[in-house]
């Protein structure tokens, strides 16, 4: 077995994985294809996941969290992807993981109690909105304005590519409250139903179909100043702090997707016959599988290293960026080979690897592009100086 349980995991992780596996097999896998075609999954799934104790991992129990740390959260996501086979659903179910941490780290106790527990109970959906039509990689160039007016901020602008944005009840939104550059950015929680805030478009994508992705608008939208997270004009730090955990999660998801693509390919190779034997009987096929497994094992080891450093509080952003690039490139490679190994069936919708192949394309883009990761690594290594 090339993929034994991670060395850092305990019996507790194993028992938790068992729960997540059962949830994924019972509640996700039977619908994975249909939800992708429908471009959405039932909202109730958030509540079911929360009731099963699988949504709020790594959040403190005082805020309605399910306990544990990032190692538990990653183990559960891995099981959900591997056995639920809907990467899109897992992506949207997990949007709280980028939307809530700024509130947990920098919000007042009152804001934490108001915003966090309902999301961790699966009653409300949370999203994070940073990216704009005119500012993606260049976060510090964001232009959505928030102007103080009495007890409110008046917000004007738009956001795009927002995961879970179509259904979100609260959106942790990056806005410009000060001058240009990163020192003029703040974080505001904008709630669904606030006049002047809405969804302008549900976006159609290459993959991640079960996850809704939105373009959002703000038109003279009045948001109470009580929804400002942290200090005014100090929003850039929480945004940057989010990135390490987000990239670790994305890298870990890539490993899970690749494990699934590998497992599907192996099963197919044993069952599909050509020239009088199962295709796994060809050395070329076996070596393809061996290459896939080897690259998975390498990325998986790096992801585990970043995780352990993150748990100790010394994960460097550059190492997390390396893990994200290594894992997303590995995932694209593995999914491409998986399609190839499936032949024509690999090009057909309803075949799991066809979906994974499309899902995989997101990872070198979302959460910071592969080029931006390389910029980060270059700066950290001092290549230019």
């Amino acid at each position: 077995m090339a993929f034994p349980a991670p060395l850092h995991e305990t019996e507790t992780h194993a028992a938790l994985r068992e729960q997540a596996r059962r949830f994924a097999r019972e509640r996700i896998a039977p619908h994975a294809h249909a939800w992708d075609e429908a471009g959405e999954f039932p909202r109730e799934l958030y509540g079911e996941l929360a009731a099963a104790g699988l949504l709020g991992l790594s959040y403190p129990e005082e805020l309605g969290g399910a306990g544990g740390d990032a190692s538990h959260a990653l183990a559960v996501s891995e099981e959900l992807i591997l056995h639920g086979k809907s990467v899109g659903a897992v992506a949207s179910l997990g949007s709280h993981a980028i939307a809530l941490p700024p509130i947990v780290r920098f919000g007042t106790p009152e804001q934490q109690q108001r915003f966090v527990p309902p999301v961790l109970r699966g009653e409300r959906i949370a999203a994070l909105a940073i990216t704009e039509p005119g500012a993606g990689s260049d976060v510090a160039a964001l232009a959505t304005r928030a102007v103080r007016d009495g007890a409110d901020f008046v917000v004007n602008g738009s956001k795009t590519f927002i995961t879970s944005g179509c259904r979100a009840d609260l959106v942790t939104t990056a806005v410009r409250t000060g001058g240009p550059g990163h020192a003029g950015v703040s974080l505001l929680v904008v709630e669904r139903g606030t006049p002047g805030f809405g969804v302008s478009k549900k976006l159609k994508k290459t993959g991640w179909w079960a996850s809704d992705t939105a373009e959002l608008f703000f038109e003279d939208c009045r948001v109470p100043a009580a929804n400002l997270i942290g200090l005014e004009n100090a929003g850039f730090v929480p945004i940057m702090m989010n990135f390490v955990a987000e990239r670790l999660m994305l890298a870990s998801n890539c490993v899970a997707i690749a494990l699934l693509a590998h497992a599907e390919s192996l099963a197919y190779a044993r069952e599909r016959a050509a020239f009088g034997r199962p295709i796994v009987g060809f050395q070329v096929t076996r070596h393809k599988l061996a290459d896939m497994a080897t690259r998975i094992a390498a990325s998986r080891a790096l992801v585990h290293e970043v995780l352990l450093r993150y748990l100790r509080g010394d994960a460097s952003p550059a190492l997390a960026a390396m893990a994200k690039n290594a894992a997303s490139d590995m995932c694209s490679y593995v999914c491409d080979e998986a399609v190839q190994l499936h032949g024509g069936a690999g090009y057909m919708r309803e075949t799991v690897v066809e979906r994974l192949y499309r899902d995989a394309r997101l990872y070198p883009i979302g959460g910071g592009t592969r080029e931006i990761m390389n910029e980060l690594i270059s700066k950290s290594e001092g290549y230019g100086s």
Binding site: E11, A15, Q19, L54, G67
Partner: protein
């Protein structure tokens, strides 16, 4: 109410094709198999938990559920999982698989009942590996207790249970007085299948078996788990011995017939079933 729930681990039924028999037929190769609790036993545990709580406030226990399994130390995993789901105590009867069969297990359970004194022994109707469907019935006979098998619904009443069994064309209701033996079927975990006296009859459970959250998984490690020896419970009981294992014959590929005439002719002349 105090309930005893026996649990068995079985090779993951979804991977039944991985079950291998070595050429000499001496045993079933179990290395590399993934173990899972027998699904019917998980349903029995869920039903037992429902009977010992108020559905609206499941964190407060209103009774006791003791789980018991038979096997080597690794089967503690099965018990810990049950404790995480909500069972209160666990007992493992130390033994090897070869020392067991339905009768031995039933005898040992009968002996355990003497010390545990449960009001109810609630079992799965059968294990999905051997599919023998015997332990509950033998146990009731040994104890001389009333029995209701294949329960689809259970309602607690004062001093007993009203058990609904699905039969062709309807539901067959059986009233049993404590102490009793009940075996559960698939539908026992439906949303409105099981009610304790405490649970409001309008209350609806989530369908299926409940999940264990991380804090419960951690707490389960501190719950009592007692180990007993099989010899103490079923001394001298005869056990079925398996002489040889053989895989069922490989099925031949089917054929396509061009019309009904050919079908009839082949059924008659080749298959010789007409």
């Amino acid at each position: 109410m105090k309930i005893l729930v026996p649990l068995k681990r079985v090779a993951d039924p979804d991977n039944a094709n991985k079950v291998k028999i070595p050429a000499d037929g001496s045993r079933i190769e179990t290395t590399g198999l993934e173990w899972k609790p027998n699904p019917f036993d998980e349903y029995a545990l869920e039903a037992a938990l429902r009977l010992t709580e108020d559905g609206k406030a499941p964190k407060v226990r209103a009774g006791e559920v003791v789980v018991v399994t038979f096997g080597p130390a690794e089967t503690d995993t099965t018990l810990r999982a049950a404790l995480a789901t909500g069972a209160d105590r666990a007992i493992r009867v130390e033994c090897k698989d070869e020392e067991l069969d339905g009768l031995v297990v039933a005898r040992a359970l009968a002996k355990l009942v003497e010390t545990e004194k449960p009001d109810l022994v609630l079992l799965g109707k059968q294990a999905v590996d051997g599919d023998t469907n015997q332990v509950g019935q033998i146990l009731a006979e040994l104890l001389d207790w009333p029995m209701a098998t294949f329960a689809a619904t259970i309602r607690e009443e004062a001093g007993g249970l009203l058990v609904g069994r699905e039969v062709d064309g309807g539901v067959y209701s059986v009233r049993v007085k404590f102490p009793a033996v009940v075996t559960g079927d698939l539908r026992i975990v439906n949303a409105q299948s099981v009610y304790s006296l405490k649970t409001d009859k309008a209350f609806k459970y989530a369908d299926g078996v409940r999940f264990a959250a991380l804090p419960a998984i951690m707490q389960a490690r501190k719950k009592p788990l007692l180990v007993k020896k099989l010899a103490e419970l079923a001394a001298g009981a005869p056990v079925a011995r398996y002489l040889k294992y053989e895989a069922p014959p490989q099925r031949k590929a089917g054929i396509k017939v061009k019309d009904v005439d050919e079908l009839v002719s082949r059924l008659k002349n080749e298959a010789k079933v007409l």
